[in-house]
């Protein structure tokens, strides 16, 4: 397969930038040592593909403010705990006494809500299309079981609109996308069609094994060499053209698109999800009307450039010095799927 990649690359006869969108791919690519197998000039850039890394400082601050309301219990996924806000992280807020709990599934919040009827249980919900259906499913359950002290603070985001924006900026040329496996299990391949048709950029939805990733790369190079752009599926065992329509319906029943702020990138139109008006009695932002001051990105942190593939983490002056996984400055260093954390672990 490596020979095939080299042949195709020689045929293309110019530098090629491929972007892996998903943080799990970033880790898998390091783990399998894929970069070292590729010809020089065939670069793999890490994209914005980790919901933890793109959660804004202001959203973290809001979640902390929610956790400090009277009689509130804030629940969230474990990876969110250490993401730095303007002054502190959720885990620091917890150490100061806020009732913040880590859940494995949003469904766990319902149990907590039932056991604490006189408290407001708020789920701080971050995630891409893979995760949002489980939040929608949890709202369905909350409605069915009439659990009225359960609320959602949604910073859920959508992958395709972010890629659209990346392709419109000209600070880095992306010749092809290695598309996320499990996001695509939900949405299927069709929502990426515009990337091939409007931007003429090839896409291959790829699995996480070394062979999967190499064959995904081969499929992309083939398209580039033939001057084609299409959305192809390498990860056929779990991804179809239409995805899991039932899960998509659940998302659409409870959520609608809204503008959303991506850390380091900025506000991207229609790239986030908020609860529909019919369910606003569960929307923590609407019900509790918290507001926190605007904040700026930490000084010197290049997360924004890293998330767009413009810089590699080691080009950030803080990388490995002021910023390490033990003491992260930017969110890309927090989650193990963040580019900076993955580089730190494998590539120093």
């Amino acid at each position: 397969m490596i020979d095939l990649i080299k042949n195709l690359y020689n045929k293309i006869n110019r530098p090629v930038n491929l972007m892996e969108v998903c943080g799990t791919h970033t880790v898998a690519i390091f783990k399998h040592g894929i970069r070292s197998l590729l010809p020089e000039g065939l670069r793999l850039l890490s994209g914005p593909g980790c919901p933890v890394c793109v959660t804004s400082i202001k959203d973290i601050d809001k979640a902390i403010a929610l956790s400090m309301l009277d009689n509130a219990i804030l629940c969230t996924f474990g990876d969110m705990m250490r993401v730095p806000g303007a002054k502190k992280s959720l885990s620091e807020a917890r150490a100061e006494g806020a009732d913040i709990r880590v859940v494995y599934s949003p469904l766990d919040c319902l149990k907590i809500a039932e056991e604490n009827e006189n408290k407001k249980v708020i789920f701080f919900s971050a995630g891409f299309e893979t995760t949002t259906p489980s939040v929608a499913g949890t709202i369905f359950e909350a409605e069915r079981r009439q659990i009225n002290n359960f609320f959602i603070y949604s910073v859920n985001k959508l992958v395709p609109p972010a890629l659209d924006v990346l392709l419109q900026s000209d600070d880095v040329r992306i010749d092809g996308f290695i598309m996320p496996g499990h996001v695509s299990t939900i949405i299927g391949s069709k929502p990426y069609d515009f990337i091939a048709s409007k931007h003429s950029t090839p896409c291959v939805i790829t699995g996480f094994g070394a062979d999967d990733i190499l064959s995904g790369i081969t499929m992309l190079l083939k398209q580039i060499a033939e001057g084609r752009a299409a959305v192809e599926i390498q990860y056929k065992s779990v991804v179809t053209e239409n995805g899991n329509q039932k899960a998509v319906e659940f998302i659409n029943k409870y959520f609608e698109p809204c503008d959303s702020y991506w850390r380091g990138i900025g506000s991207l139109p229609q790239s986030g999800l908020k609860l529909r008006d019919e369910y606003k009695q569960r929307d923590a932002e609407v019900v509790f009307k918290i507001d926190v001051p605007d904040s700026s990105e930490p000084k010197g942190c290049q997360c924004g450039l890293v998330l767009r593939g413009v810089k590699i983490p080691s080009e950030c002056p803080l990388f490995g010095k002021a910023c390490t996984p033990e003491k992260p400055i930017g969110a890309c260093m927090v989650s193990m799927e963040g580019s900076c954390a993955a580089y730190y672990k494998y590539n120093r």
């Binding site: 494995y104 359950e141 299990t185 065992s237 039932k246 672990k345």
Partner: protein, 80 residues
């Protein structure tokens, strides 16, 4: 964060199921499943919900791989 883990269904009660993943038992919801799942089936599980059936061979391959990746990410949840 977007990793879904293949898990074998060992019990079903309506829309609730118990799955076995790396020897640990977990209760999950079948609410989002696009098709019927039966005891013995492998399903991809994410955040407490099954989202898709997978065949056994693909599931075993994926489990091996996810353990490696999870080890790399130092996530306790997926280790034995």
């Amino acid at each position: 964060m977007c990793l879904a883990v293949p898990s074998r269904i060992v019990e079903i009660d309506n829309l609730l199921a118990v799955v076995d993943v790396y020897g640990a038992r977990k209760e999950i919801s079948l609410l989002l499943m696009p098709e019927e799942a039966l005891i013995g089936d492998y399903v991809l599980v994410h955040a407490g919900f099954a989202i898709q059936k997978v065949d056994e061979e693909a599931a075993q391959d994926a489990l091996r791989l996810i353990r490696e990746i999870a080890d790399a990410m130092e996530q306790e949840e997926f280790k034995e």
